[in-house]
């Protein structure tokens, strides 16, 4: 399918779910790109994965009871984050083990809850791997509103979040409420995950949080530029991924993730200063200079 055909389908009223899916995928990719910068720079990808899994029981309960998916997912994510924070006070067990215990437990709870819903297998597959059909109109407003809220908070508290990421002890010494800022970041991650789950799925959503910021990090040493590049890469990846998925009838979530991974690999090899090729060229140039210099 050519890009022109894809555009025609996007404008076809009989395929109204397609532009809605595109909008949700692009918005959630942009939001995940910005929040994911904090996740990647703090080295908390495992926590991002945990939060992504932790929202599942909330989504499942909301789905079974007909409640708000965003609210259900957020409550479950925050509850798990608080449980991890409390249980981590016991210094005999490291925090990553506590996270491992709780996120798998939360995921298991979600599976048990959703098994009670009619059409269990289909619902489970939709949550785990995402779906571009069946996004109700009101979800567009929820996704857009939540996305704006997340980006607004991240912008307003940018300097505090960065200060904590740089050096937690000094941030505390400066009088910043590090515990609350950590919790806030978990909540922002949770919200970013919740609005992304519908199109990309619970299992693959981590890729939206991690891959675009990691790609952006390979391309720049400037935080502001990284925070612009990451959502741009994520948004573009969502657009290209949805196009490929629609054209060849591939699963949407998986295709978007593979497109983002391809972008990451391109950056890994071709990034102007940090890329494998640039480094190899630099090493070669150094050796050549060394041979030419008189001894």
């Amino acid at each position: 399918m050519s890009p022109a055909d894809f555009l025609t389908d996007l404008l076809n009223p009989d395929l109204a779910f397609l532009p809605k899916a595109l909008l949700v995928a692009v918005v959630s990719s942009i939001v995940c790109g910005v929040i994911g910068c904090h996740v990647v720079l703090r080295g908390m990808a495992f926590i991002g994965d945990a939060v992504a899994h932790a929202v599942f029981p909330g989504l499942a309960i909301a789905f079974v009871t007909g409640g708000s998916l965003v609210l259900g997912g957020t409550l479950a994510g925050v509850a798990t984050a608080v449980l991890v924070a409390v249980f981590s006070q016991n210094r005999r067990i490291k925090e990553d083990s506590i996270i491992g215990v709780f996120f798998v437990a939360a995921f298991a709870l979600g599976i048990v809850v959703i098994s009670q819903a009619p059409g269990y297998a289909g619902s489970l597959q939709q949550f785990l791997f995402g779906s571009i059909t069946g996004i109700p109109d009101r979800d567009l407003y929820v996704v857009a509103g939540t996305g704006l809220l997340v980006l607004g908070i991240a912008l307003l508290l940018h300097k505090e979040l960065v200060t904590v990421s740089l050096d937690r002890e000094s941030a505390r010494a400066l009088g910043l409420a590090v515990f609350w800022l950590d919790l806030l970041l978990y909540v922002l991650v949770t919200l970013a995950v919740v609005i992304s789950v519908q199109t990309i799925g619970n299992i693959l959503v981590l890729a939206l949080l991690i891959t675009p910021p990691a790609t952006a990090r390979l391309l720049t040493d400037r935080l502001a530029l990284m925070m612009l590049l990451a959502p741009a890469i994520g948004g573009l990846g969502a657009l290209v991924g949805l196009y490929v998925s629609w054209s060849w009838d591939y699963p949407t979530g998986g295709t978007i993730v593979l497109v983002l991974t391809a972008a990451f690999l391109l950056a890994w090899f071709l990034a102007p200063r940090q890329g494998v090729l640039a480094k190899a060229w630099e090493r070669g140039s150094s050796r050549r200079r060394g041979r030419l210099e008189p001894h």
Binding site: L41, R42, R91, L156, L157, K159, E160, V162, T163, S165, L166, D167, E169, S170, A171, R172, A173, L174, G175, L176, R217, T220, D221, R222, L223, M226
Partner: protein, 250 residues
């Protein structure tokens, strides 16, 4: 000289274990004080308590006579270099500005006065020319100076330095020693922990010997003559090379 930082009979317990007992120490404006002691003596605990990061079981901490200021981010702090995320994609001046995050308050953007404080701090540590460089590209000594500038940007009269010489070569140590001495001369109270006995003996105005409590304070010359005190503090024998270093100073 009046004390800019005063710890009075401070006791601290960690996990139910006493780490500091009735520790008393004063640092006046204009002096550089070295805090010396063996591993586990409580040096870092003392600094963290002074910063308000640990709550003492008993005792009192004052900054310029105020017993609450230390808990409100009023003390400039230079942590050990390995505690900072140097791989972060951020410039030198942005790191220094982060030192004003607490003073700025939530949601406020830096203004002209804040950038002026950053300019002054960078100038003070001779890092103005590198202000736009990503911190990941700096040498060890430059990194240490950035951390000092971040603490200076706060504009505090009290500066706490945690092991500032660790892992640095001799010329860089010399450069930093000059910097710390001149910062003290500019009416600041500077307290640093260090394992580098020679640097402390030759650069500090006063030394404090710590092992669970402050065992003694005095000028390097005064303390160097008290060999028994050093043996008690560090748990060393009379044959220790450390005592030969002291003889040279005394």
């Amino acid at each position: 000289m009046s004390a800019a930082l005063a710890l009075r009979e401070v006791s601290v317990e960690l996990g139910g274990r006493p780490v500091l007992r009735d520790a008393t120490l004063e640092v006046a404006r204009g002096e550089l004080v070295g805090l010396l002691g063996p591993n586990g003596a409580g040096k870092t605990t003392l600094l963290r308590t002074a910063l308000g990061l640990l709550r003492p079981a008993s005792g009192r901490i004052e900054v310029d006579g105020d017993a609450t200021r230390h808990r409100r981010g009023a003390i400039g702090y230079v942590p050990q270099r390995h505690e900072f995320a140097w791989e972060f994609p951020i410039s030198v001046e942005e790191v220094v500005m982060s030192g004003r995050s607490g003073a700025l308050g939530l949601l406020r953007r830096p203004g002209i006065a804040d950038w002026k404080a950053v300019d002054d701090a960078l100038y003070r540590v001779r890092m103005t020319e590198l202000r736009e460089r990503p911190v990941g590209q700096l040498s060890g000594g430059q990194r240490q100076r950035v951390l000092v500038a971040r603490a200076l940007a706060l504009g505090s009269p009290v500066l706490l330095l945690d092991e500032p010489f660790t892992g640095l070569d001799m010329p860089t140590q010399e450069l930093l020693t000059d910097l710390f001495q001149s910062l003290a001369r500019e009416d600041r109270a500077v307290l640093m922990t260090t394992h580098d006995l020679a640097a402390a003996l030759y650069s500090c105005d006063r030394l404090a010997l710590l092992n669970g409590t402050v065992l003694a304070t005095g000028t390097p010359q005064q303390l160097a003559a008290e060999e028994a005190l050093w043996q008690q503090t560090f748990g060393i024998s009379a044959r220790s090379p450390l005592l030969r270093v002291l003889e040279a100073v005394a």
